[in-house]
Amino acid sequence: MKPVPLPTPDTQEWFDRIDAGELTVPRCTACASFFLHPRSSCPRCGARAVELIPAAGTGVLLSFVVNHRAPAGFEAPYALGVVALAEGPRLTGIVRTDAPDRLEVDAPVRVAFEERGERRVVCFELKEAGR
């Protein structure tokens, strides 16, 4: 069984909205900084005024590895990457593709979700040209 995140109070809403199929990015209402991971105060100015803004759902693949060994529930090989979201902050996730070895750094991607029981987990798909 693949693992699912176990949120803490300060990350609960961010994960709840992922479970509802919506990726959000935390933003400080005082200094307007976007940031991740989700937290209840701003890492730039310290304000405790954080709102969750719906993400554009696009980004670029900054870097990745292709796992040839896999934890229980995962089927190797698969690409695990760090994506810079359009809003700036970054997230780790699997990039779904039939040819992980042909992926390239800076590939445009869009957010997708993988169903895991009652939860969803963020993953990414290649954004084909023209879409």
Binding site: K2, P3, V4, P5, L6, P7, T8, T11, F15, L36, H37, L62, S63, F64, V65, V66, N67, H68, R69, A70, P71, G73, F74, P77, Y78, L80, G81, V82, P89, R90, L91, T92, G93, I94, D101, V105, D106, R116, V121, C123
Partner: protein, 389 residues
């Protein structure tokens, strides 16, 4: 204006340094026993006993447990645990504490049953940790997936080739061949690295550190007290130290091609020491994976951005090179218990003392840098002989 902490330059000395009696596979000792075995070896190394110690620092095991096992009555405890660089931080904190008069003699201990897992808490990130929430659900295969995550980006930005990355373990094996305590000693080639199993492409098995059992310990005291002791080995002085940290998840790091924590800790250590890069005779950079010394050489300022792969390829860090690095064979070939930083310090001490198996001629200044997690923390020490004071 002088650098922060410049007054502490050379204020304390490493008077005792030793590793556990055995390294590698030690199924008859628990992790805590490995701390204690190394601690007794380090105390014997400087002719002291547990009764002479009033401060204990450790990571992995609690310092109170180490103190209690050894019958030490501590007045100073440091349980800083930021992964493999913890021991560099322990030395820096002891530098402050001893200089401030809070304690006189600090024992820093490491022990881990990384391979045999005796007396170890099973390793698994807590589901509610940042790693548990933001990385584990995406299927990383532990450190081999996460630590080298930026390598492809580094290759794309700076043109590092796969051959250059493979040269890191090849060169370190050259040093290991000269060290009878090194676990892996047979020469390897770039082709051998490529032929080893792919773990998390571009990382092959031979790009990854060993997993071993072992321990190490240091005895620190004031430079003044060191001079009054009848030491079998010359003291090694702490000329400078620095530390920093950042996100414990890879996606939260400031950069995927550089370590901010190494950069800040290294700058601080070198500034405090007053030592110029050109005056560094010997270097240790924590090599949990082949790319870490590449990042470290650049983040510490020994070479410019993007220049480390060619620097290694040109033989500068190899035997006979201008900047001998990881001369024990490193985490890739010597030993790697899980928190390798202590072994980097041990080799720096041996090189400054002139007692290393692969001894470099005339080492007066050695720099050692540790990292914790996947670049989440770093500590750097500048160590020097009496001639540098």
């Amino acid at each position: 204006m002088s650098a922060r902490g410049a007054g502490l330059r050379g204020a304390i000395a490493i008077v005792g340094a030793a590793e556990s009696t055995d390294l590698g596979k030690i199924p008859d000792k628990s992790a805590l026993e490995l701390h204690v075995d190394a601690a007794l070896n380090a105390l014997a190394d400087c002719g002291l006993t547990p009764a002479d110690v009033d401060g204990v620092a450790s990571a992995g095991e609690l310092p109170n447990d180490v103190a209690d096992y050894l019958g030490i009555v501590p007045e100073y405890l440091d349980g800083t645990n930021v992964g493999g660089s913890s021991y560099m931080l322990h030395v820096r904190h002891a530098m402050a504490a001893i200089s401030a008069g809070l304690c006189e003699t600090v024992l820093v201990t490491h022990g881990e049953s990384g391979r045999s897992r005796i007396g170890m808490t099973p390793w698994a990130p807590a589901p509610q940790s940042f790693m548990g929430q933001l990385e584990v659900p995406h299927g990383p295969v532990g450190a081999p997936s996460l630590f080298p995550m930026g390598v492809r980006r580094y290759m794309a930005e700076y043109g590092m080739t796969r051959e250059q990355l493979a040269l890191v373990p090849v060169v370190q094996r050259q040093w290991a061949a000269m060290n009878p305590r090194a676990k892996l000693r047979d020469p390897i080639t770039v082709e051998d690295v490529f032929a080893s199993p792919v773990i998390a492409d571009p990382v092959h098995l031979l790009h990854c550190c060993l997993v071993t059992d072992g321990g190490g310990a240091l005895v620190l005291t004031s430079a003044e007290r060191a001079r009054s002791l009848d030491l079998p080995q010359p003291p090694v002085y702490v000329l400078g130290a620095g530390e920093s940290s950042e996100s414990s998840v890879v996606s939260g790091l400031e950069s995927l091609t550089s370590s901010r924590a190494i950069r800040i800790g290294g700058e601080r250590a070198l500034a405090q020491s007053g030592v110029a890069h050109a005056d560094v005779d010997h270097l240790m950079i924590y090599d949990a994976f082949a790319h870490v010394p590449v990042y470290g050489l650049e983040d510490l300022g020994f070479v410019g951005r993007g220049e480390a792969p060619a620097f290694i390829e040109d033989g500068h860090t190899a035997p006979g090179g201008s900047l001998p690095m990881n001369t024990n064979g490193g985490g890739l070939s010597y030993t790697h218990t899980g928190m390798y930083g202590m072994f980097a310090i041990q080799e720096s001490v041996r090189q400054v003392r002139g007692t290393a198996p692969a001894q470099v001629d005339g080492v007066d200044v050695s720099v050692c840098t540790g990292v914790g997690g996947m670049f989440m923390s770093s500590g750097t020490l500048v160590l020097g002989s009496a001639a540098t004071l």
